[in-house]
Every structure is written in structure tokens, then in C-alpha cells.
């Protein structure tokens, strides 16, 4: 394959208080693709993302992000790497003491020299990409669940990151919002050449956006491959998963 690896996870084992959450998990994600991480609730999907982000220390295994072994980075190198990543946290991660507009503006204010008016315009435009233009002055606590998620997504993409990591952005969205979210993800991939790692349960969404699928089950990565291979797979958990989705 002539694609560049943007993420390489090798032999990752994680346990919390003696309970194994991931054992010997290995997979790759490639530049310019949408990689979907699948698995039941509690199967360790969020844990994988946190490990990739370096938010939990790596005890066993190795993770390379954009060609760098993340366990060897010092603080400034890590910050530099973060500048290339946008992150959507499962429970949003919006700063509750700031308005939605201030939240989305935060990375721009901290890391660019753009004038205030332009920052405001960028923020409004990014909010409009997720159909939240009217929430600029609202506080995160005033948003509904779906709006909160979309605001968090607007913040994740505000710096046009090279890589976008999303933890269940579609959960709880209505089908119309979900479809427009998928379209946005496809646009970002196609036009901005963004590489996207996404944890999601929505089968309809996966069929629309995924290039590559990783399936976690019982602490192991039981499948890694293209979407079409995943659909053809004879492994029971995958068959069940996609069948269940077809009924929806």
C-alpha cells in the first residue's frame, strides 16, 4: 500500500486496577482516510483514543502518531503534535465557564495572530458548518445534547487540523443531523485532506463514511481492514453488528 500511516498502534495492552481493557491491540490508520473504530460499550474504544492522544501513559506497546513515537515526546513536541490534531471528546469537553463562541475561538486566540474580527468570523462560520450560528453567545449548559456535540465538533475543526479524532459524535443525533454531520466529515476528508479517526455505533453512518474499520471485542482487535472486507467478513460479531444496523 502506498498510503502513509498516520497512526500505528502495536501490541498495546492496557489494564486498570488489574482489569485488562485492551490486550495486544495493533492496527494502523492511513492518511486521508476515515478510519472507524467499532465495538460494544465498554470495549475500550475511548481508551484507545486516549492512548493515541497521550492522555494516559503507555505501559505496554507502542504508538506512533504522524511518524513520532508519542512516548518519547517532550512537552513542546507534544504540543506541536496537538496542533495538528482536532479532538472531539465523548462528553464534549467544552469549557463550561466560556460561551460557545469563546470555546471555539480558544485555539485561534492561543495559537494564531489573527485579528479579533477575523477570529469572530471564523468561529461563526465554523459554527454554521454544524448549524449552530445562533449559539455564539450561549453557554454550553444551555445547549441540548445534540447541539453540545455539534459545538464540540466545531471547536475540534476550528484550526483545520490534519487529523481529526472523534469519540461518538453521532450518538443521539436525529437522522437528518447525522446525515449532515457525515457530509461534513466527507467534505473535510475530501477537500481538506483531513485524516479522520472516528468512534461510532451508527451503521448508516459507517456505510456512508468509513474507508477502514477496526473492530474491538473482548479486549482484542478482532478485525482490521477496509469497509468492504468488513461487510464480507464471516466473523460473528461483525455479521451481527451490520445486520442489526440494517433493520434500523
Amino acid at each position: 500500500m502506498d498510503l502513509d500511516k498516520i497512526i500505528e498502534v502495536a501490541g498495546l495492552t492496557v489494564d486498570f486496577d488489574g482489569k485488562t481493557v485492551l490486550s495486544d491491540v495493533s492496527f494502523n490508520a492511513y492518511n486521508g482516510q476515515v478510519t472507524v473504530i467499532l465495538g460494544g460499550s465498554g470495549s475500550g474504544k475511548t481508551t484507545v483514543l486516549r492512548q493515541i492522544l497521550g492522555l494516559n501513559p503507555i505501559r505496554q506497546g507502542k504508538i506512533n502518531v504522524l511518524g513520532k513515537d508519542i512516548s518519547t515526546l517532550d512537552e513542546s513536541e507534544q504540543t506541536k503534535l496537538y496542533m495538528k490534531m482536532g479532538v472531539f471528546y465523548q462528553n464534549g469537553g467544552l469549557i463550561s465557564s466560556l460561551t460557545v463562541g469563546e470555546n471555539v475561538a480558544l485555539p485561534l486566540e492561543q495559537h494564531t495572530n489573527l485579528p479579533k474580527e477575523i477570529i469572530e468570523e471564523i468561529v461563526k462560520m465554523k459554527l454554521s458548518l454544524v448549524y449552530l450560528q445562533d449559539t455564539y453567545k450561549m453557554y454550553p449548559s444551555q445547549l441540548s445534547g445534540g447541539m453540545f456535540k455539534r459545538a464540540a465538533l466545531a471547536r475540534a475543526i476550528v484550526m483545520d487540523p490534519q487529523m481529526l479524532l472523534c469519540d461518538e459524535p453521532g450518538a443521539g443525533l436525529d437522522p437528518v443531523s447525522l446525515a449532515s454531520l457525515d457530509q461534513l466529515i466527507l467534505d473535510l476528508k475530501k477537500l481538506m485532506k483531513m485524516s479522520i479517526i472516528i468512534v461510532t455505533h451508527e451503521v448508516s453512518s459507517i456505510l456512508r463514511i468509513a474507508d477502514r474499520v477496526i473492530f474491538l471485542e473482548n479486549t482484542k482487535a478482532i478485525f482490521e481492514g477496509t469497509l468492504s472486507d468488513a461487510l464480507k467478513s464471516k466473523k460473528e460479531p461483525l455479521i451481527n453488528f451490520f445486520n442489526k444496523g440494517k433493520g434500523q
Binding site: G18, L106, E109, Q110, T112, Y131, L191
Partner: protein
């Protein structure tokens, strides 16, 4: 930090490439985050004298653009349109025009194995883990906060606007009433209780010295600190813990923002800039309480009281009072933050760290009080 800024400065050096010829603005190469701001400001300045009613923005030679670039062009367009100039974007290659479309304002859509250690071993282990877990980490946090507090003074760019004032109001100003009332009552009670004793010895007038010294050197700073710890130590712990549990701190980190600086430093400044004034107010209120008691129980008029105060009020006590308040203030903010940061998953964890933060903050204040007492009065 400085290294990072230098790198950023280097990236920002790249000039936007464009020129204006007649009615056409030609853009070259790329228009991205690091050039967009300068481009808009310069171009608007140059176009101030633009006479014609049309401007064509030619993007034929533009190779790359990002969301900031698109926003810059749209911003320019809007500004000029308001001045009656008709702006048209022309000759954009397909990849550019698609991004122009993507990053323009959107309309809303129609609808392990364990073993038990021996007793002595476990005491040793607990002591060791207390030392490494709490003590060292607390010192580490204190050092971190100190570093970023100083850094913050000299680096205004990434400072959170208005947050220090906000915290000063929350921690300091809002505590004024309770601190004043409590200090008045305590001053009154101290004077009241001692008046009976002093009367035995016919040493009535010393009630003044007693109240003034007790309030200035001891009770004023202590009452203030305990009340602030109760009000704000818990609030700080709860806020920091909630931010941790809801991944706000992780989000800050992955946005390349230091959470100590963003969250804790404004609280330190807010607290340290108000707690000395609170303490002085507490001292005054306490002495006023003493004055009332002296008047009622020992027939010492306020006039005599104030005259006598001149003999018993030392500069040293005022300074001690202020130094103590600064130490206590730092301890309260640090303890609140420390236990907030140590929270374990879930809402239950937030409650636990809040409680323990208040208990530890008040204990530390009292321990510090005895240490400072030894330092200042021996």
C-alpha cells in the same frame, strides 16, 4: 514556551502574496492561518482609496487555502460590499472553489494478582505513598503554579481576559459581608470574655491592647482564611474536579493550552489580590467589636479606646497580618486545585474531593499559622 513562540513567529513571517492592479486583486500561492490576518488588514488599507465600483478577486494562481483564508476573503468582500463596491471572485481553480463553498456560512438544513503485606511493611508503604503521592505532588503543583504565575505576568497573549477580576469577585469581594460580620462577633466575644478577668486586676484599659493584638496578629487573618477556605476552597475543588471529570482539562491539553495557567493562575491572582484587604477589614471589624464590648462592660468610651489604640497598634502586626493572609490565600487555592485535580471518575468523586479539600485547606492554614507565629514572635 519561549521556544514555541519563536517557532510560531517564524511561521508567521511568511507574507501573503498578492497585488492589486486596476480593478483586480491577484492572490498567489497560499492563503492560510498564518497569512490571512495580515492579508485582510493590508488589503483593506490599500483598498481604502479604491474608486471603482467593482473589484475582481482573481484566484487563478492561488494554490492552497484553508478556513481562515476563506474567511479572510469573505470578510474583505463584506466590508467592501458595505462601501458599495461590488466584489466578484473569479477564476478559482476547482479545489479552491469547493473550499470556498465549504467554509462559507451555511444555511440551516430543512429539517491482577495481589498479596497482603505485613503490618509494619504496610505502615512503611503507606507512609511512603503518602509522601510520594501527596506531599511531592503538592509541591510539584505549587512549583508549577508559581512558574505559570510569573510567566503569566510577562506573556499577555494567551491570558484569559477578565478572569482574574472575575475570580477576585468570586473569592474575595463576595466574602466581604460574612468576614466582616464574623470578625465583629469574634472581636466582641474576645473582649467580653476577657473583661471580667481584667476587672479583677483593675487593668480595664488593657482590654484595648488585648483586642487589637489578638485581632491583628492572630484572629483577623485566621478567621478570614477559614471563611475563604470554606467558601472558595470547596468551590475551587469542585470546579477543577468537574472540569477533569468532563474532559475539559483533557480538551485544554490537546488544544495545546496549559491547564494550570488557564484555570489555576487566575484564581491565585484573584485570591491574592483580595485576601489582604479582606483581612484588614476583618481586623477593623474585630477591633470595632472589641470597642463595643469595652464600652458596654468596662465603660471605656470609644474615644479612650481609640486613644489607647495608638499605643498598642504596631506596624509589625499590620505587616504580619498581610503576610499571613497571602500565605493562607495561596494554600487555599493550591489545596482546592490539588484535590480537584486528583478526582476519580464520576460525580461522586467531585463531592469527595470537595470535602477533603476544605478539611485539608483549613488544617494547613492552622498549621501554617503556628509556624508563622513561631517565626514572627520569637
Amino acid at each position: 514556551m519561549q521556544k514555541k513562540e519563536k517557532e510560531q513567529a517564524q511561521e508567521n513571517k511568511s507574507q501573503p502574496e498578492y497585488f492589486i492592479e486596476g480593478n483586480t486583486l491577484f492572490l498567489y500561492d497560499s492563503l492560510k492561518f498564518n497569512q490571512a490576518g495580515q492579508f485582510v488588514l493590508e488589503a483593506l488599507k490599500k483598498l481604502k482609496k479604491h474608486k471603482s465600483k467593482v473589484l475582481v478577486v482573481n484566484l487563478k494562481n492561488l494554490k492552497d487555502i484553508d478556513s481562515a483564508g476563506v474567511t479572510a476573503i469573505n470578510y474583505l468582500k463584506n466590508k467592501l460590499t458595505k462601501k458599495g463596491i461590488n466584489v466578484r471572485i473569479d477564476d478559482a481553480p476547482e479545489s479552491i472553489s469547493k473550499k470556498l463553498e465549504l467554509f462559507s456560512m451555511q444555511k440551516p438544513p430543512a429539517e491482577i494478582q495481589t498479596f497482603k503485606p505485613s503490618f509494619l511493611e504496610s505502615i512503611g508503604q503507606n507512609l511512603y505513598s503518602f509522601f510520594s503521592d501527596y506531599f511531592m505532588r503538592f509541591l510539584y503543583l505549587a512549583a508549577d503554579v508559581f512558574y505559570w504565575s510569573i510567566n503569566d505576568l510577562f506573556n499577555s497573549k494567551a491570558r484569559r481576559k477578565g478572569e482574574v477580576v472575575n475570580q477576585a469577585i468570586l473569592i474575595g469581594v463576595n466574602a466581604t459581608l460574612i468576614v466582616v460580620v464574623m470578625s465583629f462577633i469574634i472581636g466582641l466575644v474576645i473582649a467580653l470574655q476577657s473583661s471580667a478577668q481584667l476587672r479583677h486586676f483593675g487593668a480595664d484599659i488593657f482590654i484595648v491592647d488585648l483586642t487589637v493584638i489578638a485581632m491583628m496578629a492572630q484572629m483577623g487573618p485566621l478567621i478570614t482564611a477559614i471563611l475563604v477556605a470554606g467558601r472558595s476552597g470547596s468551590a475551587i475543588a469542585a470546579e477543577v474536579a468537574t472540569m477533569k471529570v468532563t474532559a475539559e482539562l483533557d480538551a485544554l491539553k490537546t488544544m495545546g493550552i496549559n491547564s494550570v495557567r488557564f484555570v489555576i493562575v487566575p484564581k491565585i491572582y484573584g485570591c491574592l489580590s483580595t485576601i489582604p484587604f479582606l483581612t484588614i477589614l476583618a481586623n477593623i471589624a474585630g477591633i470595632a467589636g472589641g470597642m463595643v464590648a469595652a464600652n458596654i462592660f468596662l465603660d471605656i468610651t470609644p474615644e479612650i479606646f481609640i486613644n489607647r489604640m495608638g499605643h498598642s497598634l504596631y506596624n509589625k502586626d499590620i505587616i504580619t497580618s498581610i503576610i499571613k493572609s497571602l500565605v493562607y490565600g495561596s494554600l487555599i487555592v493550591l489545596t482546592g486545585s490539588f484535590f480537584g485535580l486528583r478526582v476519580k471518575e464520576g460525580a461522586e468523586g467531585v463531592g469527595k474531593s470537595t470535602t477533603i479539600a476544605v478539611v485539608v485547606a483549613i488544617s494547613l492554614v492552622i498549621i501554617a499559622d503556628s509556624i508563622l507565629g513561631l517565626i514572627f514572635y520569637t
